[in-house]
Symmetry: C2
Subunit: 192 residues, 2 copies
């Protein structure tokens, strides 16, 4: 290996990834900057240099994470497939943990909590847009948000709680019941 020393960009990136893992796994409060620095093999003062503070590190790590329930296909048939893929924890190859968990384990910083609410509400809006015309059912947005709630709950039960049999269920086992839920919550406007 060629341990590229004195590479600011690489160090910064490594810090981001270590921070994301810690924050996601043990939460904001239990993550210590010394641990993050040690993971990378770097001095803790570098975190201040690059991110200013612990809160800054958290926000940077959050911004570098994939969005929850983004990139949903506008095709209803493919929607269930993509939902299933994003709910399975091992479907984030480049990430060891489910990205939505970091949102939930955040600090109490007002900026973060507000952004979290917006991210959740935006996910519901994306689901609604992908599933069909919004006016098909009066409470369509509420129903879409219930679907987001299901996604959040699945992520929590799989990645944080480890509940069985849900944790070990593969995409195949999840797809069928998920399709039933999607059909129940978001009636297909083309199929009255």
């Amino acid at each position: 290996m060629t341990p590229r020393r004195r590479d600011a960009a690489a160090t910064r990136q490594a810090l981001l990834e270590a921070a994301r893992t810690r924050f996601t796994q043990v939460g904001y409060e239990s993550t210590t900057l010394r641990d993050v620095a040690a993971d990378v093999g770097v001095n803790l003062a570098l975190i201040k240099r690059y991110f200013g503070s612990k809160e800054g590190l958290f926000k940077a790590a959050l911004a570098a994470s994939p969005r929850f329930l983004a990139d949903l296909p506008p095709d209803r048939a493919a929607l269930v497939g993509e939902l299933t893929r994003q709910l399975a924890a091992d479907s984030w190859p480049e990430f060891g943990e489910h990205p939505v968990l970091m949102l939930l384990r955040a600090s109490g910083d007002p900026t973060v909590t507000a952004g979290r609410r917006e991210a959740i509400e935006a996910a519901a809006a994306r689901i609604l847009a992908a599933a069909g015309p919004a006016d098909s059912v009066p409470d369509a947005l509420l129903r879409a948000e219930l679907l987001v709630a299901l996604g959040v709950g699945v992520a929590v039960l799989r990645s944080a709680v480890g509940a069985q049999p849900l944790t070990d269920a593969g995409p195949d086992a999840l797809a069928t019941p998920l399709r039933a839920v999607v059909d129940a919550l978001l009636p297909d406007p083309h199929r009255p």
Copy 2:
């Protein structure tokens, strides 16, 4: 008011309630024993006296909380009603917060995390038992656990995230979509 001084039972109870509120709202790490003691108007050393340690206080507060998705009626029709009631955050009159949140915001103590997993799995088993024969569908337990996941997600989105319109949705608005989900996940064996 008659501030009953020197009443060990009352003081202990007050400490438990204050702790539950703090743990639920801001999580284990961010809850300080000084804050809990101050809420009750008592010295922090009493917490050690009654509960031994912070971890002991947490476990005692957890044990004093109502179980999530307990007391489900064995009647399928009433199941949705009870689910709806337990998902609405204001349906716990004696508690300001949803009890499932304290489970999620727990410390990393192995005893607690193991108990949490068991509590979730037991909730799924209770739903399954209330909804009908377990053998009606092969993956019935997985489906019941998805219902628990929905409950966890709804609790998180309502009480911790504050996502709209879900947070302001009342029992009436929730019952209809919830019934659709229950029917989709747990097919009624009496109605093939």
